[in-house]
Amino acid sequence: MALPLAPLIWLAIWLYMRNRKGGAGGVDLSPGFWLFVWIICIWNSVFVAGLLFGGAAVSENPAWALPALAAAVFCFPWTFARWVLIPAGWTRAAYYVLRIPGTTLWKDRRGGALAGAVWAHTRSGRRSPRVDEWLQKKLAALSPLKAGGVAALALSRAAEGEIDFARGLMRLVLAFDRNARPRRILRVAVEWLAAEAATRGDWEAVRAIGSRRGVRTRWTLFASLAARRLLGESRPHALLLRAAWLLAPNRIGSLGLLRLALAGRQDAPVQREEGGLPATFSDLLRLHAALWKEGPASAGDLDRVQLGWSRLFMKGVAGGLRERAAAIAAANAEHVWEEARARIVGDLASMLREHGHSLAALTPSGLTEDIRARLEDEGMEELEHAAGALARRRANQQVLPVHDELVEWCALRDLYESLAGVASNGLRPLAFASVYPAASGHAVWLFNERGERPLGNALLRVLLEEARNAGDVEAERLQAANVAIPI
């Protein structure tokens, strides 16, 4: 069985050298051919490894085990890197082992290997500037950028603490064409996104990720069941949850989530009743300030505060304020009151966008219409400004390194989604129409002129999905044709 290996390797080398020369002598080989050659090589190696292990067992000579181990690494580089080199934090070793051609990272070997290397570096226990520099050089040299490279960049930025940007990048990994997106990298991205959402307590997002067909993993399935239980919707039975936990990897690490989910619903229903809310401006301001001081505010927190403000402003100018104005000879109590109201409305609108809550999460009150108007005015203006800047840069042919292009794209997408997600449904088509020409032109530019075909295609896929959400039939038709162009 091992006999065809040598001639096959020679044939592959000969074809490769011939191909490299180019011109008329070159042979046009599909990636599938190389995959075929590689699978034969792998199974030959497995056969040889088995023989060597068998020899070691029979002869009781442990020296036989060494070449057998080397053959095993050669056959299963991802498995070895994932379970040995990455946890040990051996960055360069992880990179070079993952560069061994294999079926796992076939679709993006360089980017996938770098993702493994960045992951290993974060596990190394100490951050080495030399290794950092080496990784950054490798990252900057990746072109064209594929899913593995984007995941590597995301892991690197996440480790730096730039979680929002890393989230944007990991979401982009999901949008890559399957020919530029190794399955393992997709799994890393999906699990990272679920873990990040769980960290924020965004159980809705955890549930959505675990429910996505085609990208579900055993861990995201367990996490989504836990999320459903925490959200209190159609609670999965505890036995089912335990079974999912047992089937998922990282059982010991995930025990915390299992316990949390079994303990029951975490986020109590939003309290709509008005009782118990502070009645004075100063007390409400103190409650409002708590939303800035602590981490992300929940929709329930924001609703409670806006209800309190709404009730207070409904009563009109506080009598105390009028008296105080008279005492210090200030003639503008009404103006001060209205100005304070406008500031409160602006702040609530900013917090809704910042924390990604929908306006629908707020109980209709005397303030919600003003919050909606504020969201629409400010958000649209900001979005048009950002889209215009992107279009102008492309028109002026101001080329940025591809990583900076990603920063700009993710910022624009965040801006768009924060507006389309929180405001009225009617605003989504309007927001899409204002951002679409610039975003589409940019993606096509990356695809056609910058040589970043896989990345350009991924951006066009994002636009296609959003065109569907916004109900823009013309854009959907155009982007469907665009994404069909081979990368």
Binding site: R127, A194, G253, L285, A290, D301, R304, N332, A333
Partner: protein, 116 residues
Amino acid sequence: MKSDLAGRVASNPFLVLGITPAFSRREMEREGQKLLGMLELGMAEARSYPTVFGPRPRTPEMVREAMAELRDPGRRLAHELLFLEGTAGVDADRGEKTVGWSGAFSALGLSRWPSR
């Protein structure tokens, strides 16, 4: 701090001058001058002031600006409304909050850089 309102609360002239709305204009001027003198001498206790978000740096320019703001009755009234005294207790009345699962990344073997 991204919020304009939060910025206004934290840089409220009353807080910058270390006084409350109960202080008269004359008292305000006296406290302001006292602070300017202390800052000129480089006294440590004058270099920061407490807010609900924790201590903030105080500079002579901020003190002068705060005094100018409080001399105008109209602007003083607006600052009185947004005056939030104290260094603690802003979260005392907060309702339920969303709590995530902090062990998610480590469960998957994903981590941040250790600090240098």
